[in-house]
């Protein structure tokens, strides 16, 4: 992997952050329906302060995943989140592209 790519690689970042003593959660797209911005397997890494790298969507749901990651970091219990189509009138978090995704969030322990 190139240095440029490594700097942007969520799994390398997860390991580096953990090495710095930061609490780390890893989010992974595990299922998509319809038009989804990031393929199954894509990662977002989040630390205990809410810093994040990588992506599980085109920026639509990352904020919500980061919020949930705080709970996962606190409890150590993994969770699966589901996001559907955005509903602007309800101010619900969602995907404007019309797809649906499921995101698995787990804590890195060690």
């Amino acid at each position: 992997m190139t240095n440029d790519a490594k700097m942007l690689d969520p799994l390398e970042i997860a390991e580096a952050w953990h090495g710095q003593g930061r609490a780390v959660a890893l989010a992974t797209v595990i299922e998509t329906w319809g038009s989804a911005p990031r393929p199954v397997g894509s990662h977002l890494v989040i630390d205990g302060e809410g810093n994040f790298e990588g992506s599980v969507s085109g920026g639509c749901v990352e904020g919500a995943v980061v919020g949930e990651a705080a709970d996962v970091i606190a409890s150590g219990l993994p969770t699966v989140l589901e996001f559907g189509v955005a509903d602007e009138t309800a101010w619900r978090v969602g995907l404007s592209c019309g797809g649906r995704i499921r995101v698995y969030v787990e804590r890195i322990d060690g």
Binding site: N3, P10, G41, S42
Partner: protein
Amino acid sequence: MQLSTLEKLNEARSARRAAVVVNDTSSGRAQAFIEGEAFPAEWEAAISETLRSGRPKLSALDERSIFINVYLPPPRLVVIGAVHISQALARLAPVAGFDMTIIDPRTAFATAERFQAIELLADWPEDVLPTRPLDRYTALAAVTHDPKIDDYPIRAALEAGCFYVGALGSRKTHASRVERLRSAGVSQEAIGRIRAPIGIDIGAASPAEIAVAVLAEIIEALRHRDPAEQGHAT
């Protein structure tokens, strides 16, 4: 996921070895397995399938939800020729996620000053490639126009099943190349896989523009491969 699992995965990825992680999304348990290792019997079929397809798999087992993620080696680009186009490629390819290596025996071209932060080997491809074999996760672009330098690596790339083989040169240059390869015993099917003239047609004129056209063609070849061979990006 345990840190040790993440470390094992990252180590395999930097060594260009395919790996999978089997996640139990209910319990948070995760195990990493590297291509070539013995897999536990209950996962063997599913792991082999994801390694072959390059596609992650979500399945249910005894009311548990199991997600198998797969990590194929990142694509690599080998460029034959330390020319002006290669200088532009050396800056573009790393941003697009490619490991890039340049091979050119002509020491006047292959200087560290012209190519920074890129692996540069000032040797004949005949000497370099046996020690650093090409594979199906590798693209090869031959851009010297010189048959003495280009022909051997082109044949080696076709034999190794590189996902992209491109060769610079006019239609006339390519016609003579095809003749030489044919007399050397390369099959018509293999010769047909060479992308020449090199690069997608965007009317590229400058060396930097040609580099963009070549990189775009490489990405197209990577993403439009047979789905059974398709990689996936993290």
